[in-house]
């Protein structure tokens, strides 16, 4: 029981930290008890705390992931495309889930993290491993918002950000709700010049980055209707338009390349909870994305658009003895707009079962999935996770799973070069680790150590010269170790967040404030975080004669990443410093060319001030404090020391 309480404490404290801006509540209007049982995740996962995300309210998700997670962010230059790699994966092997639905572009299989505003999401979490909640072959990023609250409430938030690279951001958020309806609108506008000077090692001169301007407008609206106590209908809209210039690489004289992306994503979700032991969710989405590229220097103009229609129906049954059975029916249609014969349709079924006390102290989660497509055959996949509550504060876990990744529409149909004969990539995964959670009177320690091993067959690699064609040519073996550690000490003597010892359920608390109570959390803590990732991701077999990549690291996967964060919170002040180290990254698959390691230092400060019902929140970020010169991608220099400031005003 004691260990459950500790976990409850962690979950609750992280939830409350997530809501630090609204902390210290005086009136609880509504309590929503969710279905989640508090058990340790049988795979490595990380939730971004609001004490971190507060510094990125005027920034894109790539900046946050780069400094505060074990995800490797591959940045094609400032303001340009930004993709991720988790545990030595390719970007397409990861997924971004928005309200549980994959939003990776069906054409490219990628998400651009430079275009995802952090301020749009209340919860950002990373599943590194093969948990049954993670549908990706490698990890996934989950983006979601707090559950809607149905009481009379109004909140307005406005924010402005400036970066001394001549970048500006403005955003506004309006949340209103009553007993039946809840609506939350967020608009974000950014205009970035991304101008900075740097020493060009190729030309041996000081240069100023030009043609790097980016303009983006994003809108998100979440409307929820409470039909009755057991039924909630919600409609989520996320629209985005971005136009950006692609700056010249350090070896190029100039660039006139431009790209324009437009995305409309909408989801309709019906949540039914008619009985205590049964609930279901129906989700239907329509995602439309358009991409245009223009290089007037070489008279190259191209445009493509893709539509993706996902449908998910999930039935959940809670059985006695803490058992849960879920059945998920999924269907998806994606097609290149204007070329409906260039499409990929799939349907499938996922059955999952979990039990919290299979044997004494052992929790089991298992799932099995079968999909069919109209293009190729996909294998049956399965997942089994065991989580052992071995000691009071150490919880070992192990997961065995198989996965696959379907080729994208580009990989199948791109003209010229697409390969309709491609097979899905398949993987077999094994991972295990320990979670250590320990709490003393004023101190908290949380660590998560994971060892992982994944073998991918039919790895798809683009191959060719002027015409690139994807092939299933490689077998890749990824293995390594991840460590996430957090320690904090409460400088105030009294314990906060002390919850009843018999709490066994994870509770999400949605609170209204009817009076102008103190909205600034009075807390004094020193905290420390360490993130470490050691990843070997090597080609084991290849269908190419004399392939020099055998036994060599996959390009742009660092073997070593280390990030350390130390922070101080003193009532309304917060200070922190993050140092990162990224090891060698190879440009070529035979390790013949590489980028050197780099380290960056980044400092953060935050101050909150309250006047009646208004909250003023100012943040300051010193990026690349030690002016390190580094490239994320060869030839694409990243900015040196720069400063970002943000001011947010919130009124209830």
């Amino acid at each position: 029981m004691k260990e459950v309480i500790i976990i409850v404490f962690f979950v609750l404290s992280s939830i409350l930290q997530c809501d630090a801006q609204h902390a210290k509540r005086d009136t609880i209007n509504e309590v929503v008890v969710t279905d989640k049982k508090v058990v340790a995740q049988p795979a490595s996962s990380q939730q971004i705390q609001s004490s971190i995300s507060q510094y990125y309210q005027q920034a894109s998700l790539q900046h946050l992931l780069q400094l505060h997670t074990n995800v490797f962010v591959k940045n094609y230059g400032i303001g340009s495309l930004s993709t991720i790699s988790i545990r030595g994966s390719s970007a397409a092997q990861t997924q971004v889930l928005w309200h549980g639905v994959n939003i990776n572009n069906a054409m490219t299989g990628l998400s651009d993290f430079s275009a995802i505003p952090v301020s749009f999401f209340d919860k950002i979490s990373i599943d590194y491993g093969s948990a049954s909640s993670n549908p990706a072959m490698s990890g996934c990023i989950q983006l979601s918002n707090d559950k809607p609250s149905f009481y009379k409430h109004k909140k307005i938030q406005a924010a402005f950000g400036y970066e001394n690279l001549k970048n500006y951001t403005a955003s506004i958020g309006i949340a209103t709700s009553n007993r039946l309806l809840s609506n939350r609108l967020r608009v974000n506008i950014s205009k970035a010049k991304n101008e900075f000077t740097f020493f060009n090692t190729d030309k041996q001169q000081t240069d100023t980055l030009t043609h790097a301007q980016s303009n983006q407008i994003s809108l998100m609206n979440d409307l929820s209707l409470k039909i009755n106590n057991g039924f909630i209908l919600s409609w989520h809209v996320w629209a985005q338009h971005q136009q950006r210039e692609i700056p010249p690489a350090i070896f190029e004289v100039s660039s006139v390349k431009m790209e324009t992306t437009t995305a409309y994503r909408t989801l309709v979700k019906l949540e039914q909870h008619p009985y205590q032991s049964y609930f279901s969710t129906t989700t239907l989405g329509v995602f439309y994305e358009q991409y245009a590229y223009d290089d007037s220097l070489i008279q190259l103009r191209s445009q493509a658009s893709v539509t993706n229609i996902p449908f998910i129906e999930q039935f959940n049954l809670i059985l006695p003895r803490r058992q849960k059975v879920s059945l998920q029916l999924i269907a998806n249609r994606s097609f290149l707009t204007g070329h409906t014969n260039y499409s990929l349709n799939k349907a499938g079924i996922i059955a999952s079962y979990s039990v919290d006390q299979l044997l004494k102290h052992i929790n089991l989660q298992t799932s099995i999935e079968k999909e069919v497509t109209d293009v190729f055959q996909v294998p049956l996949i399965a997942n089994v996770s065991l989580n052992w509550e071995a000691w009071h504060f150490i919880k070992p876990y192990v997961t065995v799973s198989s996965h696959y990744r379907m080729p994208t529409l580009n990989e199948l149909y791109y003209n010229p070069g697409g390969n309709i004969k491609l097979k899905p990539e398949t993987s077999k995964n094994l991972e295990g680790g320990f979670q250590l959670n320990k709490k003393w009177q004023t101190q908290t320690l949380h660590t998560d150590l994971t060892l992982f091993n994944r073998k991918v067959n039919n790895w798809i690699a683009w191959y060719g010269a002027s015409i690139l064609t994807p092939h299933n040519i490689q077998h890749v073996w990824s293995r390594g170790l991840e460590f996430i550690g957090h320690y904090d000490i409460n400088l105030a003597s009294r314990r906060q967040n002390d919850y009843p010892k018999d709490s066994i359920m994870m509770i999400e608390v949605c609170i209204a404030k009817k009076s102008a109570a103190n909205r600034i959390e009075k807390k004094r803590t020193v905290s420390c975080d360490i993130l470490y990732a050691y990843t070997l991701s090597t080609t084991e077999e290849s269908a190419i004669r004399n392939d020099y990549s055998i036994g060599k690291q996959i390009p742009y996967v660092p073997r070593y990443q280390l990030k350390g964060n130390i922070g101080l919170k003193w009532d309304q002040f917060e200070l922190s410093y993050v140092h990162t180290y990224t090891g060698y990254r190879f440009i070529t698959s035979d390790e013949s060319q590489y980028l050197k390691p780099y380290g960056t230092g980044n400092a953060f400060a935050s101050y909150k001030y309250q006047i009646n019902t208004n909250l003023l929140h100012a943040t300051l970020r010193f990026n690349n404090l030690w002016n390190a010169r580094y490239e994320s991608i060869a030839g694409r220099i990243m900015p040196g020391r720069n400063i970002s400031i943000g001011i947010m005003w919130e009124m209830q």
């Binding site: 090692t201 190729d202 041996q204 690489a249 350090i250 070896f251 190029e252 004289v253 220097l297 070489i298 008279q299 000691w391 150490i394 010229p416 070069g417 390969n419 320990f434 250590l436 660590t447 150590l449 060892l451 690699a461 683009w462 191959y463 060719g464 010269a465 015409i467 690139l468 064609t469 092939h471 040519i473 170790l481 460590f483 470490y532 050691y534 070997l536 269908a543 190419i544 004669r545 004399n546 392939d547 020099y548 990549s549 390009p555 073997r559 070593y560 090891g583 060698y584 190879f586 440009i587 070529t588 698959s589 035979d590 390790e591 013949s592 060319q593 590489y594 390691p597 060869a634 030839g635």
Partner: protein, 357 residues
């Protein structure tokens, strides 16, 4: 309580640093300038600024990579398209860096860089002090003064993407690798004027050689833009097309090359999927009345050939396999009968061989 923590820590320490991160330092040296050999241009992978030069020492069967970086301590540039020897200097066209780098052939030191040029492709000497430079994307040929290494003028052509050139009898014949173009240009090198537009069968001409009878052989086509390939024999004296050989629609031939005796044509048929039986090196006599039905040297499965050179002394055939431009190339040396003799590792995307005879 402490035992699990110790276990955890020891596991962490043991497993956290198994492989040395720092790559082994590359030790490169320069070859002897007295040896006979081949300068190899390695175009690199597009957008990575990693084009380079290699030297294959035929006397000692040794290969020397990264010549430019070793000698100049900087990158040569992005997409090294071609290398030409003019007035005892190497002229290297670096396509995506928009420059021509002039290099000393003994020390590989850069002598000068010509930058006022857009996407150079090939450089051909047309007179004692003049060379023509073909280029991508713009409808022109640059006229380069090779004494001052400056662009002195341009010749406007009808379509962008001028490509390979050949000079004979004071005339330069220029191919035009644009799918709208079904001509090659005959330019008078004394006044840099287009004298004649020679219509050919097919579009997008890209390779041209001259045989022992001074006949021109022109290879044209662009499979991926639905322009079928043709091999055309043209008599420049009578200005008549003698014959045209159409290729199958699935074929994508390029790198038309002729041997030292100028009686045998070679070309590569490339299949980027690396699976078809028509993927490899083809050979045909200039007196053949049909195209060869099968490759003289079949490319390895899942590979294709990218560079082609014939040694005028040994008649050995050199071919490169660029391995998708994601790693170093393999250079294959075959005997004149097609027997594999040696193989070497060159830079990324080896695309041409220049013999230093």
């Amino acid at each position: 309580m402490n035992r699990p923590i110790l276990l955890l820590l020891s596991l962490f320490v043991n497993l956290s640093a198994c492989v040395k991160d720092r790559p082994n330092p590359d030790l490169h040296s320069l070859p002897s300038s007295k040896h006979r050999g081949i300068i190899i241009s390695n175009e690199g992978s597009y957008g990575n600024n990693n084009g380079e030069l290699s030297f294959l020492d035929i006397d000692s069967n040794a290969i020397f990579n990264q010549l430019y970086f070793t000698s100049n301590a900087k990158q040569l540039g992005d997409v090294v398209q071609s290398i030409s020897r003019i007035n005892n200097l190497y002229y290297v066209a670096v396509n995506n860096s928009n420059k021509i780098v002039v290099i000393d052939p003994t020390t590989y030191k850069e002598i000068t860089t010509i930058t006022s040029i857009t996407s150079p492709r090939y450089i051909t000497q047309v007179s004692a002090n003049k060379a023509y430079v073909s280029c991508l994307y713009s409808p022109r040929i640059y006229v380069l003064d090779i004494t001052s290494n400056k662009i002195t003028s341009t010749i406007q052509v009808d379509f962008p993407n001028t490509e390979r050139m050949i000079c004979q009898n004071g005339l330069c014949y220029v191919t035009n690798w644009d799918t709208a173009s079904n001509i090659i240009y005959q330019i008078n090198t004394s006044n840099d004027r287009i004298e004649h537009r020679i219509p050919i069968n097919g579009r997008a001409s890209h390779d041209i050689v001259s045989d022992k009878n001074a006949m021109l052989w022109i290879l044209s086509g662009n499979k991926y833009k639905n322009k079928s390939s043709y091999l055309t024999q043209y008599n420049p004296l009578t200005k008549q097309i003698i014959q045209t050989f159409p290729f199958a629609a699935a074929h994508d031939p390029f790198r038309l090359t002729i041997n030292q005796h100028k009686d045998t044509l070679y070309f590569i048929n490339v299949d980027y999927n690396g699976t078809s039986s028509s993927n490899g090196l083809y050979r045909m006599s200039i007196s053949n009345m049909t195209l060869p039905p099968s490759p003289f040297i079949q490319a390895p499965i899942n590979s294709y050939f990218w560079a082609l050179g014939i040694d005028s002394v040994t008649q050995h055939i050199y071919l490169s396999d660029p391995k998708g431009f994601t790693q170093q190339s393999t250079i294959y040396e075959y005997s004149s009968t097609g027997e594999l003799m040696h193989q070497f590792t060159a830079g990324i995307g080896a695309n041409s061989f220049l013999f230093n005879e």
